[in-house]
């Protein structure tokens, strides 16, 4: 992997940690000047390409050097803001970089269809701010900086979700709902960081971890822990703090849903893992207790409750949104085991879930573009009328269930291994049973897509058509990734193994 680091000139590589956040931020300002959607998209595309290249190069650099530390403005940590990349966040950085790149390719036809022409430049601007924020949360090593970037990404997310109002006015209430809950989450998080600062006198996460390990814990750090978990849990749509998610996903523009589903909650979940395992440590009694009784238990409830809710949805995107909440439950269970294997399984599922949901929402976006369908019953016959998109949809859907030959199987396999290693037999049973629930709701979608006949228009069958190539390419790449990483899982497994060892290994 080290060869990737040499892809960029050394001068650029030295500043890559800063540039990977700064470039989208600058591009956001430039996109605001763009007169039309095409120009705005071009800016976003160039940016996403640069970010993808940087994140690959950083992956190579981390493989070579271990931990990369970058002092903003030359102010040395812990006083200054440190950008710190280790094996854990480089995996998430790569995920956001690559998925962002694929989503932006997809954006051009989708956004042109859903957003008013004169708003598209500003839409891309808001998207790039969100992108920069997510990358910032991932890369920074400073707890307060996490809050700042979390707010940057959230505020722009509210905007881009509300842009769905062009197609459905309910996007406005969904965005408002998310705004209220997201702000509460951010407030809780910053209160927690404040308590940590009070207890340790430091905002640098590595430094806080060191001081906490030396001084031990008291009521203040326990309160900090609780506030941070609730705050980030809201952002990550952790059950039972997920109420904002179904509507936000269902009414946002399709491109936004695909992007958020595959990156935003993942980044919040990474931040959660960072605090649980790196700043605090599972060896501490109260952390261990909350891992078992909050994360694992709530995770298992989420796996069943949200899956059951997904079964009864009528709107296709809402169904997948509830399924996302259930999938976050799997990741919570993985984290809740509090072992290296559990964390690895959780991170593996995090990456795999991004690949599945990205493809699923992209396919739904393609259906919506061609036929304007949102309801499950309207998906009838799409297997015949839009075969390529429907195939990608099917592959990703089966992956979500965890059928062998797809990466969903890998996720569940590693989760089960980790649960057995921990001696949690009930978790194994829960995993298998909730997969059956997933089979029911995905089965519902696939039945409608493949077995029902396409509607006819004035006695004529709807003709076979295809989504624009710009949509098919990223969708196809993700669907292919769902199959490829089953056959050769070593890349993802090594990535997540290194990630788990970076924070848990001794």
């Amino acid at each position: 992997m080290e060869f990737l680091a040499n892809a960029l000139p050394a001068g650029l590589m030295a500043h890559a940690p800063a540039l990977v956040v700064v470039v989208p931020l600058i591009a956001a300002a430039i996109a605001a000047f763009m007169p039309n959607g095409k120009a705005g998209w071009a800016v976003a595309m160039v940016t996403a390409t640069i970010v993808a290249v940087f994140s690959l190069a950083l992956l190579g650099a981390v493989a070579g050097e271990g931990v990369i530390s970058y002092a903003m403005g030359g102010w040395a940590p812990p006083a200054g803001i440190e950008y710190r990349i280790d094996a854990l966040n480089v995996a998430v950085l790569l995920l956001v970089g690559i998925l962002g790149f694929l989503c932006v390719i997809y954006a051009l036809p989708s956004v042109a269809d859903e957003i008013a022409e004169d708003k598209q430049g500003l839409f891309y601007s808001a998207f790039l701010v969100c992108f920069a924020g997510l990358l910032g949360v991932t890369i920074t090593g400073d707890a307060f900086n996490v809050f700042v970037f979390l707010e940057i990404s959230s505020l722009s997310t509210y905007t881009i979700i509300a842009m769905g109002a062009g197609k459905d006015r309910r996007a406005l209430t969904a965005a408002y709902n998310y705004l209220i809950l997201g702000t509460i989450g951010a407030t809780f998080f910053v209160i927690g960081v404040g308590f940590l600062y009070m207890a340790t006198g430091s905002l640098n996460m590595a430094d806080i971890a060191r001081i906490l390990a030396e001084n031990g814990h008291d009521r203040v750090t326990q309160a900090a822990f609780a506030f941070i978990i609730v705050g980030l849990g809201l952002k990550a749509a952790m059950f039972p703090l997920h109420m904002w998610l179904p509507n936000a996903y269902a009414f946002a523009p399709n491109f936004v849903t695909a992007f958020l589903a595959s990156t935003a909650t993942k980044v919040a979940f990474y931040a959660l893992a960072r605090f649980l395992f790196s700043v605090f440590h599972p060896d501490v009694a109260f952390v261990d207790l909350s891992l078992t009784w909050v994360f694992a238990v709530a995770g298992v409830i989420a796996m069943f409750m949200a899956s059951a809710q997904a079964i009864f949805q009528t709107d296709a995107r809402r169904l997948l949104a509830y399924s996302s909440v259930a999938q976050v439950g799997y990741m919570m269970l993985g984290l809740g085991m509090g072992t290296v294997l559990g964390l690895q399984a959780g991170m593996l599922h995090l990456i795999n879930h991004a690949l599945m949901k990205g493809a699923l929402f992209m396919a739904l976006g393609a259906f919506a573009l061609k036929f304007g369908v949102r309801e499950i019953k309207d998906l009838a016959g799409l297997g015949r009328t839009m075969p390529i998109s429907a195939t990608a949809f099917t592959i990703a859907g089966l992956s979500l269930v965890g059928v062998p030959l797809t990466i969903g199987f890998d996720s569940k396999w590693y989760l089960i291994i980790a649960a057995l290693d921990r001696g949690w037999w009930w978790a194994v049973a829960a995993l298998i049973l909730s997969s059956l629930l997933a089979l029911i709701y995905i089965g519902r979608l696939l039945m409608v897509v493949w077995t029902e006949t396409a509607p006819s228009h004035r006695g004529e069958q709807v003709k076979r058509t295809h989504a624009p190539v710009m949509m098919l390419i990223p969708m196809g790449v993700l669907a292919f990734a769902n199959l490829y990483f089953f056959l050769d899982a070593s890349f993802l497994v090594n990535l997540t193994e290194a990630a788990a060892n970076a924070v848990m290994g001794d």
Binding site: G11, A14, H15, A18, L19, V22, L25, I26, A28, A29, I30, A32, F33, Y70, A71, M72, G73, G74, L122, S125
Partner: protein, 152 residues
């Protein structure tokens, strides 16, 4: 004769003062309380007062919404450009990190680079904050029809 003659004359006197005070807060930010955020709000207040007295249409003529939109992006660009400039200007023959203002000026004994850096960055903050304040004001003010003069 306009019914609001006193308001108009007084605000015409006040608006330049408000702007000057805004710049005072801006440039005093180097040495004491103040800075781009506060100054940006004060300068935006001058335009908002103008809009309250002379009407939103007049204000939009003086400070067009397009300018406001560009301004909010331009400030960010200025800030980021300072950061990029520090990357390409090596200090004492060595490359420095993003936003390390020392690179901006070789005079280390007076920390001249730090002065230039914060001045430029705060100018960027000023431009963006002023523009965003006005953008919010225009967005809200634009939603309701102006009250006709007879209804005062």
């Amino acid at each position: 004769m306009s019914p609001h003659i006193i308001l108009r004359v007084v605000s015409k006197l006040l608006i330049p003062m408000i702007v000057i005070f805004g710049f005072y807060v801006q440039f005093h930010g180097d040495f004491g309380p103040g800075g781009g955020f506060q100054a940006g709000v004060i300068i935006a207040v001058a335009v908002i007062l103008y809009a309250l007295i002379f009407g939103i249409d007049e204000a939009k003529k003086a400070v067009p919404p397009k300018l406001v939109q560009w301004g909010s992006a331009a400030g960010v660009l200025l800030y980021a450009a300072v950061g990029l400039a520090t990357l390409v200007m090596p200090f004492a023959g060595e490359a420095v990190n993003f936003l390390d203002y020392d690179a901006l000026h070789p005079d280390q004994s007076h920390h001249a680079g730090q002065h230039y850096g914060i001045l430029l960055v705060e100018l960027g903050v000023l431009i963006t904050v002023t523009s965003v304040m006005l953008a919010i004001f225009y967005a809200f003010a634009g939603r309701v029809p102006d009250i006709p003069d007879e209804e005062w």
